[in-house]
């Protein structure tokens, strides 16, 4: 295809008007492990599969869902090391915002700044785009919010979204199940059922991760035993 001549250089448009490297980055995200997020009326929940390459890996040392500020958390689909860099940058930006304005950073601002970083890597020389899409969950004065940020740097606010391997099935499932009046606990159950849809093998507290934030505005990642409790309720 004519695009292939333009696929090596990040900063060159192809004749069809696309930046092929970003398309490839999205493909990398699409082959990553499934993650999803649901915005409830009184909070937000994000969840992801935690499939480890071998049973010998110590799963307690792996944490995919990270806290950016006490009231904002993030999960990714795609390349783990790329997400670590973004998490580090976002945390620093949130802290700098606080030092300058003495106000906790609003969710939209943090998402915008993270998206700006990701966009910079699509327009600079000698770098490649990030191979991750992020789902940012936060609760601030505007209420609960869920944003997805793509490798191109574009971001969207979602009521419910999924990314990674099983995205089309997961999104169809969410479209059917989502209601605006859903509460946080219902949202967690829905998230678990959605993950179960495309899950290979036995789902348990050790191979999925769930993070949630409620009216208390404190983002927390559930421990494996807490996840097990929710799993049993969802049965």
């Amino acid at each position: 295809m004519g695009d292939s001549q333009y696929s090596f250089s990040l900063t060159t448009f192809s004749p069809s008007g696309k930046l092929v490297q970003i398309e490839h980055a999205l493909t990398a995200v699409g082959s990553g492990q499934t993650s999803l997020g649901i915005k409830a009326s009184n909070g937000v929940v994000i969840a992801t599969e935690k499939k480890l390459p071998s049973i010998l890996v110590d799963e307690a040392s792996v944490q995919k869902i990270q806290t950016l500020t006490p009231n904002i958390g993030v999960v990714y689909s795609g390349m783990g090391p790329d997400s670590r860099v973004l998490v580090r940058k976002s945390r620093k930006q949130a802290e700098q915002y606080y030092r300058l304005y003495k106000e906790p950073i609003p969710v939209t601002q943090l998402v915008r700044e993270t998206a700006t970083v990701m966009q910079e890597f699509t327009q600079s020389g000698g770098v490649r785009p990030f191979g991750v899409s992020l789902l940012v969950a936060g609760y601030d004065d505007k209420g609960p919010q869920l944003y997805q940020v793509d490798p191109s740097g574009s971001y969207f606010s979602w009521k419910a979204s999924a990314m990674g391997k099983n995205v089309s099935n997961a999104k169809t499932f969410l479209e059917k199940r989502y209601t605006e009046e859903m509460e946080l606990d219902d949202a967690v159950h829905t998230a678990i059922l959605t993950l179960k849809e495309g899950f290979e093998g036995q789902i348990s507290g050790k191979n999925i991760e769930i993070g949630m934030i409620g009216n208390d505005r404190i983002f927390k990642v559930l421990s494996p035993s807490e996840v097990e409790d929710y799993l049993q309720e969802a049965e």
Binding site: L68, R88, Y98, T108, F156
Partner: protein
Amino acid sequence: MSRFEESAPARGGFSYDLCKRNEMLMQKGLKPSSYLKTGTTIVGLVFQDGVILGADTRATEGPIVADKNCEKIHYMAPNIYCCGAGTAADTEAVTDMVSSQLKLHRFHTGRESRVVTALTLLKSHLFSYQGHVSAALVLGGVDVTGPHLHTIYPHGSTDTLPFATMGSGSLAAMAIFESKYREGLTRDEGVKLVAEAICSGIFNDLGSGSNVDVCVITKGKREYLRNYMLPNPRTYVSEKGYSFSKKTEVLLTKITPLRELVEVIEGGDAMEE
């Protein structure tokens, strides 16, 4: 935001670029701007369950009291507090900056901050400015390794002590500590001793005054007792009150709004692909 990042020196050490210009200006008769010196009494001591920090609340600008009730005990981390003496802006900025760095560090490590971490961040910063950042600090906190109390001098040297005082009232406060301190004090004895030491600074040093602030830090808990003691209340209040004499005629009462209320339109910045 990027200008904020650029303001920190890229390679360590103070940038002396403007010193020649300042010298030239001073020769031409320009007086350097005066800064707010706190002229303080700050103290700290270790008791059986943790540390207690104390400070007075007077901020001086030469012979004038600039702030009668300022806060000299600064937050560094949930388990670490720092008292500051010297130039108020310097102590505020340096403790704020290190508090921010400690917060980021907590996110990255997932652990409670240690007092030695705060100590090393502060002393490296002060040393790289060769004493020009005029901040003398008493740092205290409780972490996994136990209770710690340190003093940090403006040039970047530190001491680790069971009891410490800094500031212009430090000798007055130290006199109290040297005679009454012993190991294994209880919380109430410790707070009483700290308040006594600060009062000694307040009454015997001109640079210190007004009220006593105390902060008690123990494992898992901290109590910030702002204005723990108010030994200098304003006692004279005129009985007659402040009102116009009967001969005054009110000619006109008019209310002028200073500022129009601005309506904020919800719209935001929708991201388009």
